[in-house]
């Protein structure tokens, strides 16, 4: 067990380091022009433009710059210009070209929104998926079952962002069926407005992702329901409903839990489309805006943070999975 853990942790750390190097390499060869994030086309004289470029001093050798950057992540960094020194706390991911603010600070400010969307949606997809899957399992072979399974197939085959976009355009903008999505911090707006602001993205993301849970829990529930102990329960006279939801569910839930972990990890990083379409100020939208602004430190910082989150979540899931399934450890 211990060797497995160490192996996984070492592998995870090496992946993070590789990501940092890769991001830096990308950054270095990028056609970057930090001044254009600040300078426009009609107000910036060439002189001003040159001044801004110089002040961001990108003319030191690569290895030096990388050492500075990597060192900054571990120890923090001091930036000096014009006689003023700023200290950037570890882990230092640099300063945004656009706003001059520390990258990590801006990412941290946006993280709660992304996490809220993902966790809220995960509650929905888990509950909906398991419920619908169980319903289908109970009615297996009937037309109802086939309809449910068919519907999940159709929905899961259409790309997510199309579904989200159509829901947004038609059910939020054109016909305001769903409340207008947005981030309304609880502090100033109260819990109701906060909740309604996330409702639309939760529903769309949740219901869309429930399809695979539906199929999976239906499959494992079908198997569970044909087990001996379930037959025994039925012959004892326990109601069908109790049989399904108490006995059947218990055994089919375990594998689902581990997939849940995997999905969450990926969703955190992949919530770009949701945030873009519903216009939520999360990390995904931050990446897209930074991309539009050519704000490279921000893009780099987000990639690194995203990779770390993904690696950590995968690591956790692997560890949990290894407890549940000893074969994994021994492979």
């Amino acid at each position: 067990m211990f060797t497995y853990l160490t192996r996984r942790v070492v592998s995870a750390i090496s992946v993070v380091i590789a990501t940092i190097i890769a991001s830096f390499a990308l950054f270095f060869i990028a056609p970057s022009d930090p001044a254009s994030a600040i300078c426009g086309d009609t107000r910036c004289s060439q002189q001003r433009y040159e001044d801004i470029r110089k002040s961001l001093n990108l003319d030191r050798p690569v290895t030096q710059q990388f050492a500075d950057y990597a060192g900054g992540i571990v120890f923090g960094r001091d930036y000096t210009d014009g006689g003023v020194t700023q200290h950037c706390e570890a882990p230092c991911l640099g300063y945004s070209f656009k706003t001059g603010q520390p990258v990590l600070q801006q990412i941290e400010a946006r993280l709660p929104v992304t996490l809220t969307v993902v966790f809220g949606a995960s509650v929905i997809f888990f509950c909906v998926g398991v419920t619908v899957g169980s319903m289908a399992a109970r009615r297996r072979g009937t037309a109802g079952d086939r309809a449910l399974v068919g519907a999940t197939l159709v929905m899961s085959s259409i790309p997510y962002y199309l579904v989200a976009l159509l829901v947004f355009l038609y059910l939020v903008i054109l016909f305001p069926v769903l409340p207008r999505p947005g981030y309304f911090p609880i502090g100033e707006n109260g819990p109701v407005k906060w909740f309604l602001g996330f409702l639309a993205p939760w529903l769309v993301l949740g219901i869309y992702n429930s399809t695979s849970y539906t199929r999976y829990s239906r499959g494992s529930m079908v198997e569970a329901l044909s087990e001996d102990y379930v037959r025994t329960a039925r012959s004892k006279g326990i109601s069908e409903r109790r049989v399904t939801y108490v006995h059947g569910l218990r055994s089919s839930i375990t594998p689902v839990v581990t997939i849940y972990g995997l999905d969450i990890a990926a969703l955190i990083v992949g919530s770009l489309f949701t945030e873009r379409i519903f216009d939520l100020p999360g990390i995904g939208n931050l990446v897209l805006q930074s991309f539009a602004n050519s704000d490279l430190p921000m893009i780099m910082g987000t990639v690194i943070v995203g990779a770390v989150v993904l690696v950590v979540m995968n690591l956790l899931v692997d560890i949990v999975y290894s407890f549940l399934d000893p074969r994994v450890r021994l492979s």
Binding site: P159, A266, I299
Partner: protein, 345 residues
């Protein structure tokens, strides 16, 4: 082993294998197969026969074929209509960009907002990048994945460890984030200032996009193949072949590969719709294909401004992408069913 799934914001597009399919693929290779036909039908043959009898699969294949034909025959179709996809007709658009005409004899689907380009031409040509990128990327990443998976599984030792680490690394990268960061950078480096006309630029972007998709796509298949090879190589027939002195390459190609056909085909069938979705998604975000390449992803992105007054502009590419993805997904499902009836629902 824990399988990694190729995620895209909730769409479980596995280029590897769903855990629920894990059981099936193990069951599949339980019986080793000789590479000659005299001993009965090979699993591939059986699968293909099953496929032919599946009505759903035939219908889906026809839909896919329809789109492929539309894409291939696009120049012909546009010549029939008498338009091309690049001419601006700004006289058919009002000052706010809304088209002043609907579908008519000259423009079968009407014109595009703002530029006034013919929508039928845009749509038919728009099918091309999606299909080309999906097929090229799927085949390339499959080839790369199979080769590396075979090598890692068969050779083991440090080669295996290195390749496994690379696979882990690629699968741990946040795909969308890296794609957004990487595409403009790689395009900038690849194209440089030598990229001349808008057309040239778009071409470079096209290849970079395929490259990025392949970069992320090969890893799941490689891992799967590696796992299969590892379990296969301990079997008697492989050991026997080695003892006899059959050269490694022959072992790989004649003994192992036929047993891997099933997971490869399944993986390909899953990859195709995944890549179509990926390309359209990246283009929708603005990171994929750009002007002047006509593409469905771009049409969808632009349509969000005009859809209230001009729904056709939105629905044409939406139906295109959805129908194509649906057909390919269901075809993939049927393929998997054909290879292993146990997963039939």
């Amino acid at each position: 082993m824990s399988s990694r799934l190729f995620h895209m914001d909730g769409v479980r597009m596995s280029l590897g294998v769903d855990p629920q399919d894990q059981v099936s693929s193990e069951a599949l290779v339980a019986v080793p197969v000789a590479s000659t036909k005299e001993h009965g039908k090979s699993p591939s043959r059986i699968a293909f026969d099953r496929l032919r009898k599946d009505r759903m699969a035939i219908i889906c294949a026809c839909v896919v074929l329809f789109f492929v034909l539309v894409a291939v025959l696009a120049p012909l179709l546009c010549a029939l209509e008498g338009q091309n996809y690049s001419d601006f007709h700004t006289e058919l658009v009002d000052e706010f960009g809304f088209p002043t005409i609907g579908p008519n004899a000259d423009h079968w689907f009407g014109v595009e907002p703002k530029t006034g380009r013919d929508l039928f031409a845009q749509w038919t040509y728009g099918a091309r990048p999606s299909l080309v990128i999906a097929f090229v990327a799927a085949i390339t990443s499959s080839v790369v994945g199979v080769v590396l998976g075979l090598t890692a599984g068969f050779l083991s030792g440090w080669v295996d460890r290195v390749i496994s680490w690379v696979i882990d690394f690629v699968l741990s990268l946040p795909y969308l984030l890296v794609a957004i960061a990487a595409v403009p950078i790689v395009v900038g480096v690849a194209g440089g200032v030598n990229a001349l006309s808008p057309q040239d630029n778009a071409n470079i972007r096209f290849f970079v996009l395929i490259g990025v998709l392949v970069f992320f796509g090969w890893a799941s298949l490689a891992r799967l193949i590696r796992g299969e090879v590892i379990s296969l190589r301990e079997r008697e027939f492989v050991a026997a072949a080695k003892v006899i002195g059959v050269p490694t390459r022959r072992v790989l190609f004649k003994e192992l590969l036929p047993n891997l056909v099933a997971p490869i085909v399944i993986s390909l069938s899953l990859a195709l719709p995944a890549y179509i979705v990926a390309e359209a998604g990246l283009t929708f975000l603005g990171v994929g294909l750009i002007e002047p390449t006509p593409s469905w992803g771009q049409m969808i992105a632009k349509a969000t401004t005009y859809y209230q007054a001009d729904p056709l502009y939105l629905w044409l590419p939406v139906v295109g992408v959805s129908a194509l993805t649906l057909a390919l997904s269901w075809l993939g499902d049927s393929v998997r069913d054909a290879f292993d009836p146990k997963t039939r629902r």
